[in-house]
């Protein structure tokens, strides 16, 4: 069922804000993982503003849903969402990456409220998410675990160890996303180390699999609904995305995996985002 116009418009507003804040945070930080922070936006926004049962006033609430941002370099886009949710003051984003700041490129759960797992080294998050999902089942709790991976990250063997375990344990309370922006640092994932047939790999590992446009809230929402209906398998949602989405000069440009923005680039980026949302 399609999301209502009201909800869609609210989500789009949050996505617009998140893209702008990711850019601004990168400026305060002196640089950032622009491409991946912009490709993951719709996944994070839909989860945090429509699905996840969390209490920013009580970040350690036992019954909360968990999210493991396995592609930890998305931190510069994730932190603004946590700030907007009320875990901490948005003003704090201004010290992102500064010496002794609680915020580095890859968020630390012991320093940033709302972060469920410290990530950054790729290939670790799905195993942690499997442990969280097993924990929920053991505790007979119905909180859900979400995990967002990068596609290049799926070159890591440990992802497939975890994939095997998640289906072996029939973790239907685990929903994973692959932010399939098709780019890693050195270029195109398929050219560097091909993942295709990607969805078949997940299928053969015993997962419920879905492939959607990762910038389309309705498609993502349908996929999450599908995941909730499944009772004996973990679900992976391959979200086809565009690295750098929303900033015209960054889209699908590999060097924007990580970059610094001067005042001119910042203005161009914010203008591009505003235009994409009809705000210019």
């Amino acid at each position: 069922m399609a999301l209502s116009e009201e909800i869609l418009s609210a989500l789009n507003e949050k996505a617009w804000k998140n893209r702008r804040m990711a850019i601004k945070t990168m400026v305060w930080a002196g640089g950032g993982h622009a491409g991946g922070a912009l490709s993951q936006v719709e996944i994070l926004v839909l989860l945090y503003y429509h699905y996840m049962n969390v209490d920013p006033q009580n970040p350690d609430w036992e019954d909360r849903d968990r999210l493991v941002l396995s592609k930890g370099h998305g931190g510069v886009g994730y932190a603004p969402i946590l700030a907007d949710k009320g875990y901490f003051d948005e003003e704090q984003l201004k010290i992102f990456n500064h010496t002794h700041s609680p915020f580095g490129m890859h968020l630390d759960r012991l320093k940033v409220p709302g972060v469920d797992a410290s990530t950054g080294s790729l290939g670790h998050g799905l195993s942690i998410a499997v442990g969280l999902a097993l924990g929920a089942r053991l505790k007979k709790k119905d909180w859900r675990t979400y995990c967002i991976m990068g596609d290049g990250e799926c070159n890591e063997g440990s992802i497939w160890e975890a994939a095997m375990a998640a289906s072996h344990y029939k973790l239907s309370n685990l929903t994973a996303f692959v932010d399939r922006n098709r780019m890693c640092i050195d270029g195109e994932v398929e050219k560097i180390m091909a993942l295709e047939p990607f969805i078949d790999k997940w299928k053969s590992f015993g997962w419920n699999t879905l492939e959607v446009d990762g910038h389309d809230f309705n498609q993502l929402d349908d996929a999450i609904q599908n995941a909730f209906q499944n009772t004996d398998k973990p679900t992976v949602i391959i979200a086809n995305t565009i690295k750098g989405k929303g900033v015209d000069y960054m889209e699908n440009v590999a060097p924007w995996h990580y970059g610094g923005l001067d005042a001119e680039n910042e203005e161009k980026a914010l203008n591009s985002i505003d235009r994409a949302y009809g705000k210019a």
């Binding site: 797992a117 942690i128 969280l132 097993l134 924990g135 929920a136 053991l138 160890e161 975890a162 344990y169």
Partner: protein, 334 residues
């Protein structure tokens, strides 16, 4: 928490078997305990826990990175995972998961690493682990324990559950002779145990070398009238610095013995304390001399690498023939 030990016959049970039994016993009271392994349930004896509590036991197959990652997730969900595999896989194959997912996040995972050192003798270097103390010691938040025998392993397992943060307990294959004849000797994580006092020289040992150090001290006394102090340094981190500095003060000569590379393990930890203490002291580190291990019976290897009782006697005798520079101000400064 306390447990009854006399039910365990240490003459017939290996340290791993004892810890398997102790963990299972603890599992009855402590529902937060979960146990994990990677196809080594039988070899590490953690399977005993699984037999009793199948729903709290996870054998993830031969996938150690996943093993420690899942352990981290279970700890984040509020459990206290005991994770057991061979030392070489815990400290090398899954080193980054142990460091980043467990130590960096400071979660309550307790790692029981079996077959450490050269205890898996004939299996050779791929299954030996003579680097783990060095590796684990360098991970912030990690506590590192190398128990002397089965009783001490049981004590360490019992103590570690309420000891905050990650703990690494390194044991052998399980065929080592025991040092203690009961568990009530005042075991405390981070507190060295003086096995025998003496003022001529100090032998500081951990793991299987403790027994050899005790035997060496007896031989030294019987044959040469030498009074050697023997310290069981079961906790490598945090190291009992006071015990080391007191040994420096009282004996001015220290021999360390460990079933590990002499780089980075017990000997190195002791050397750091001696050096920073600023007082002259002779030190000889016994262990593998920065080489990959040979194949053989574990007892033969302990002897080949000069960490058995005879070799310790030899090292002590040699050191007693060497001068130690006097420190005039010593008494005032201690």
């Amino acid at each position: 928490m306390s447990l009854t030990y006399h039910v365990y016959d240490t003459d017939e049970m290996t340290p791993a078997e004892i810890y398997g039994q102790v963990l299972t016993k603890m599992g009855e009271e402590r529902k937060e305990i979960v146990a994990l392994t990677a196809d080594l349930a039988k070899s590490t004896k953690i399977g005993k826990f699984g037999d009793k509590f199948p729903e709290r036991f996870f054998n993830v197959g031969i996938a150690e990175q996943n093993l420690f990652g899942i352990g981290s997730g279970l700890a984040l969900a509020g459990f206290t995972p005991f994770i057991s595999t061979f030392a070489v896989f815990a400290s090398l194959r899954a080193a980054e998961q142990v460091r980043t997912d467990i130590c960096y996040q400071n979660v309550n995972c307790k790692i029981i690493a079996t077959h450490s050192g050269t205890s898996f003798g004939q299996a050779g270097t791929t299954h030996h682990c003579t680097e783990d103390l060095a590796i684990m010691r360098s991970f912030a938040n990690m506590t590192v324990i190398a128990p002397a025998d089965g009783y001490e392993t049981a004590n360490a397992v019992v103590e570690c559950i309420d000891y905050p943060g990650p703990v690494y307990i390194r044991i052998g294959r399980g065929f080592e002779r025991t040092v203690y004849d009961n568990p009530e000797y005042g075991y405390e994580i981070g507190k060295a145990i003086t096995m025998r006092d003496g003022g001529d020289i100090t032998i500081i040992a951990c793991g299987p070398c403790v027994l050899h150090a005790v035997e060496a001290a007896q031989t030294l006394k019987d044959n040469q009238g030498i009074e050697a102090r023997v310290i069981n340094m079961h906790t490598i981190k945090p190291l009992d610095k006071e015990a080391v500095l007191k040994a420096v003060n009282d004996t001015r000569r220290i021999v360390t013995a460990e079933n590990h590379n002499i780089l980075g393990g017990l000997g190195s930890a002791v050397a750091e304390v001696i050096t920073e203490g600023g007082k002259s002291c002779r030190l000889k580190r016994l262990g593998l001399p920065d080489t990959f291990s040979s194949v053989g019976h574990p007892d033969d290897l302990l002897s080949y690498y000069k960490t058995d009782a005879d070799s310790i006697v030899e090292a002590v005798s040699e050191m007693l023939g060497q001068e130690v520079e006097e420190d005039e101000d010593w008494e005032d400064e201690v």
